[in-house]
């Protein structure tokens, strides 16, 4: 039992905006009142619900490949020496599993959503998530280039496709469905990409990215998954991709969807020389589609490692930069590419990218639909979120940074003209309440009675050597104090949220012969056993 007293509470999901009140905790949940137990005096501090990361890459085959590909980053990364009760590890761009948990918790984030899991490496992903302590986890299944699903969508067998998707979601023990460059990764197996939404995909006769997008979004809605289809649009990173992004929003009319790392999809111009911010157009279109949510995928200057299932884009990035390149092919399901990258403030394209991420966060009107991410580690490491919050909260500081950019870049962005400043209430929405609601995690992202007792207490003034939100004074996870005065105090095991959608069991009779024919592993070895997902918590589907 625990009482947090005297703190100024920001709990947007319950409409609490900076009210001094007590927060009471018993048995890992928020309760209305407690008798006795420890009291934390939070006088002069601010109390937030624990942060929720709606889109990050922290576990699995691709991330592990990236860890191996960038030893030069690991060498200079922050080290966690092993101590009683705490495992060793390293931070940096691609932190090790244990360090990932310590870093997220150390920043005040208590729930993370791993956004890209191929079914074939789902076992590996769950093992890594189990070794990611403190935070609660969920993960999304890569689906928009799965050849079995694509064949069914091309044949117009949507009913059967829905059963296959439902079966696959439960087989992989995941929480939702991710679509990466729909059709593009399948085309990449022929050395091509899928850049036209209504053009046929290489290797198929009539199937187009548009069919996949609307088909999958409908299937996810029908299955009633708590999180809508999580979409990485076509044409990521290409100048002029605003048109694709806005067209995609139109395709999603009538469906729920979450658009990931929108920054990478909001570029105007028609080539690298003319590339400019397209944030105004995208924000306007986004505002008029209340069925959608999105995350920013903002970039920060400095080192990054780009990891995505979007194989063709990664090959393009490798050719643009000359940096090393890793490519994985995941049989019939997806692909993956990895390229280390440095975002430079003197580079016009990078400067525009930096501005676009912030512009999207500032120009979209509803903070309940646009969330803070860096698409970790693509736009920058997640432990740099406080730097973005500072840029959002302080217009003067932000304009000062804009003035440091090359003039050619300043003329291609609108960030310098935006005066909006985030309030603490807004910050609590984009970092916790909003993402939790979009993920359909009703017990996360708020401090109402019955919610999980994930609470972060920040000092009201930033520490001398950092920005506000860098160093929470206390972080509570499920009611336990895990971080106190910047030190990890307790290392707890987080849960993993999964869903079991309804599907026709007879779909196995359809899948089994296909497996014998096209997969390298047997059908029986394919699904992840529930015992393998330790700390599994099954979330109900929407009715």
């Amino acid at each position: 039992m625990l009482r947090i007293t005297g703190g100024t509470v920001y709990d947007p999901a319950n409409g609490v905006n900076g009210v001094v009140r007590d927060v009471c905790i018993a048995d890992g949940r928020i309760v209305s009142d407690v008798e006795g137990g420890r009291t934390i005096d939070a006088t002069g501090m601010i109390v937030f619900p624990g942060g929720v990361d709606v889109h990050t890459h922290v576990a699995g085959g691709a991330l592990n490949f990236a860890r191996g590909l960038v030893p030069e980053n690991q060498r200079v990364a922050r080290k966690f020496l092993h101590a009683p009760g705490r495992r060793g590890g390293i931070g940096g761009m691609t932190p090790t599993t244990f360090a990932t948990g310590y870093l997220y918790a150390g920043m005040g984030w208590t729930t993370v959503n791993e956004a890209a899991v191929p079914i074939l490496t789902a076992k590996h992903t769950h093992e890594e998530l189990h070794d990611t302590p403190i935070v609660d986890k969920s993960c999304l299944l890569l689906m928009a280039n799965n050849e079995i699903v694509l064949d069914l969508l091309e044949a117009g067998e949507v009913e059967r496709a829905r059963d296959v998707v439902g079966w696959l979601v439960w087989a992989a023990k995941v929480y939702g469905v991710k679509a990466v460059n729909p059709g593009g990764v399948a085309a990449w197996k022929w050395g091509k990409n899928a850049s036209a939404l209504h053009g046929p995909i290489e290797g198929y006769k009539t199937l187009t990215p548009a069919t996949i997008i609307s088909g999958l979004a409908g299937i996810v809605d029908d299955l009633g998954l708590p999180h809508p289809m999580h979409l990485h649009c076509n044409n990521l990173g290409n100048p002029g991709n605003v048109a694709t992004t806005i067209e995609t929003m139109k395709l999603l009319q009538g469906h729920r969807a979450h658009m990931a790392h929108l920054q990478f999809h909001a570029y105007g111009g028609d080539g690298w020389e003319t590339m400019r911010s397209g944030a105004v157009e995208v924000a306007e279109a986004f505002d008029s589609h209340p069925n959608l949510t999105a995350d920013a995928g903002a970039i920060l200057f400095g080192d990054a490692v780009t990891i995505t299932a979007d194989g063709p884009w990664q090959h393009m990035l490798h050719q643009l930069t000359g940096r090393k390149w890793g490519n994985l092919d995941v049989e019939n399901e997806t692909g993956c590419g990895i390229v280390p990258y440095v975002y430079r403030d003197r580079h016009i394209v990078n400067a525009v990218q930096w501005a676009v991420g912030l512009e999207l966060l500032l120009l979209t009107r509803d903070p309940w639909r646009m969330f803070l991410t860096t698409d970790h580690p693509n736009g920058g490491a997640f432990w740099r979120y406080p730097e973005i919050i500072q840029l959002l909260m302080d217009a003067e500081y932000r304009k000062e940074q804009v003035r440091k950019l090359p003039e050619a870049a300043q003329s291609r962005i609108v960030l310098g003209d935006i005066d909006r400043e985030y309030s603490l209430y807004d910050v609590a929405i984009v970092t916790a309440a909003g993402p939790a609601r979009a993920l359909g995690l009703t017990q996360k992202g708020h401090l109402g009675v019955g919610a999980d007792a994930d609470v972060t207490i920040y000092p009201a003034k930033p520490a001398a050597d950092g920005v506000l939100f860098s160093y929470p004074r206390y972080v509570l996870k499920a009611g336990e104090i895990v971080v106190e005065e910047g030190e990890i105090r307790a290392v707890t095991d987080g849960r993993e949220f999964i869903v079991k959608p309804a599907f026709d069991d007879r779909i196995e009779e359809y899948l089994r012969p296909l497996f014998q024919k096209v997969y390298t592993i047997s059908f029986e070895n394919y699904p992840v056993e529930i015992e393998r997902v330790r700390g599994a918590s099954v979330v109900g589907v929407r009715s």
């Binding site: 590909l69 030893p71 030069e72 980053n73 060498r75």
Partner: protein, 269 residues
């Protein structure tokens, strides 16, 4: 002067980046004795392994067979470090200034990613001299490494600037992916010298097997070799340059990258 005498061979390699003039220059005797070293994953005291004499000096003298002591002189910026005997891996890695002298042999990653200073080894060195660590874009960016004996694989891999001179035999892949700087091979090298080199100069005083992606370009006595010879002579290393004695055959490459590097092979008259 601070004199450090190795008491006994550590059972596993000892990581001792505290053995640097930068660390010890202002420390009293007790503080030096208490400096941390790592035996495997266990932290130990420097005086568990070394007899320590003297204090507060930027002149270090290490005695004994320290071939299992790693990271000596790591990142040092000033002073003088003398090793009477052998030294272990990563000697002078990330070094920025000062001098290191070793009377015996050293092993891999000598002066890796150094950016200044002078390292002189009387005996043999291992592989990856002045090289880039795995994944890094560039190896040494300045400074000088002089080796009296032989050296191993990938000497000067991805080096960007500075000089490496090796008196004895050098193994495969000298100057691999070299980006600049100079490597002098006193006794030639084995296979694939200069593979993937982009820029920079490799000088060999003995004939070497040449990759097919290097093109013979000229036979000449470039003026800069006279300057190099004079500079290296001050460091006690002699290379020929006079027209009366012979000429350098210039080969350009590596055209598979494609690169603008050169390999100069001395042909005596």
């Amino acid at each position: 002067m601070i004199r450090l005498t190795l008491k006994e061979q550590p059972s596993v390699p000892l990581e001792a980046e505290a053995l640097s003039p930068d660390v010890m220059a202002t420390l009293a005797h007790d503080a030096i004795c208490a400096l941390p070293v790592y035996l495997g994953k266990r932290q130990r005291r420097l005086d568990d392994f070394f007899e320590v004499e003297g204090e507060a000096s930027d002149f270090l003298h290490v005695e004994g067979d320290a071939s299992r002591v790693k990271w000596i002189g790591r990142g040092m910026t000033k002073g003088h470090l003398a090793v009477a005997g052998n030294a272990g891996m990563h000697l002078g890695a990330y070094m920025k200034g000062g001098t290191i002298e070793v009377s015996g042999h050293v092993t891999d990653w000598l002066g890796a990613e150094m950016s200044g200073g002078l390292i002189r080894v009387r005996g043999n060195a291992g592989g990856q001299v002045g090289a880039a660590y795995r994944g890094s874009l560039s190896g040494m960016t300045d400074g000088t490494i002089l080796i009296g004996g032989s050296a191993g694989l990938e000497v000067g891999m991805r080096m960007k600037r500075g000089i490496i001179a090796v008196g004895g035999a050098v193994r495969d892949f000298a100057g691999l992916q070299m980006k600049g700087g100079t490597i002098v091979l006193g006794s030639g090298a084995e296979l694939r010298t200069g593979a993937w080199m982009l820029r920079g100069t490799i000088v060999s005083l003995k004939p070497i097997p040449m990759l097919p992606t290097f093109t013979p370009a000229a036979e000449y006595n470039p003026t800069f070799m006279r300057l190099y010879a004079r500079h290296l002579a001050m460091l006690g290393c002699t290379i020929p340059f006079a027209e009366a004695d012979g000429a350098y055959q210039r080969h350009t490459g590596d055209s598979s990258v494609p690169g603008k590097g050169e390999i100069l092979v001395w042909a005596p008259r």
